[in-house]
Amino acid sequence: MMNLDHLPNQQKDEKAELFLRRHWIAVVQLVFMFFLTFILPILLLFAFRETVLDWLSRPLLGPVLAVLLSIYFLGMWVISFVELTDYYLDTWIVTNERVISIEQMGLFKRVASELHLADIQDVTSEMSGVLETLLSYGDVIVQTSSAAIKFHFKAIDNPEQVKHQILRLVEQDRARHGPGAMARQAPPPVQEIKL
């Protein structure tokens, strides 16, 4: 298990400042889907239990129905928890030295990346949509000087506040260490020559 006090490749005096997951609305959506696909069918089976018991007592229909119901409910249970695990393991950790992005994609794929604060050039927050505006959640995009490298924090709480916190941490890091390797390697701006 991971421990926030003992992060992978942790540097001396490094500590976690922000620990982010997707907004709780994602859990509400998961719970709603679980209710629709698992709880509601159980309630319906209970409501029509006399008919269901009659079907289950038939010589062929009974076993077929038993197999189908077993596969359905076992399947819905495991799918719901795989989705919950996906939500739970998607995390973004901002320390006073770096940004760590961990994204779980299903059971068999996990992408973990890290970016040093000194290499961050731009931080953008985005909130679009009625629900996002009312509940104050959205995306934060962290970009380095290289356009190919960026971190995308998806559907997090208070993205504007998170953006300001990251920028503050970047400033503090630059004051301690100076500009990062990517910033030093960035090509000088092109100067236009008029002939």
């Binding site: 409910f73 399947g75 495991v78 779980q104």
Partner: protein, 88 residues
């Protein structure tokens, strides 16, 4: 075949069921492995692990109990099957 009739053993229905149970156990195991290995240690994580483990096992036992209530040794002939809805 019995007396020229084609007979289907009821146990044939157990093949897809058992294959699914195998996948179910594999997916449950992998899900638990991911939670334990990559989760941030906290009370919430342990609650999720316990609920998932107990629920998965409970559902599997309930499913197997339901399946055990049938006599899988019996066989049904095709002629009986197509003779009317009452035989289903």
């Amino acid at each position: 075949m019995q007396d020229g009739q084609i007979v289907i053993p009821l146990a044939i229905l157990l093949i897809p069921y058992l294959l699914f149970v195998l996948f179910y156990l594999l997916y449950c195991g992998l899900n638990l492995h991911n939670l334990v290995r990559y989760g941030i240690g906290s009370r919430l994580l342990w609650n999720i692990i316990i609920v998932f483990s107990v629920g998965s096992l409970g559902l599997l036992i309930a499913s197997m109990a339901l399946m055990a209530s049938f006599d899988w040794h019996q066989a049904l002939s095709l002629q009986e099957l197509f003779s009317g809805p009452a035989t289903l």
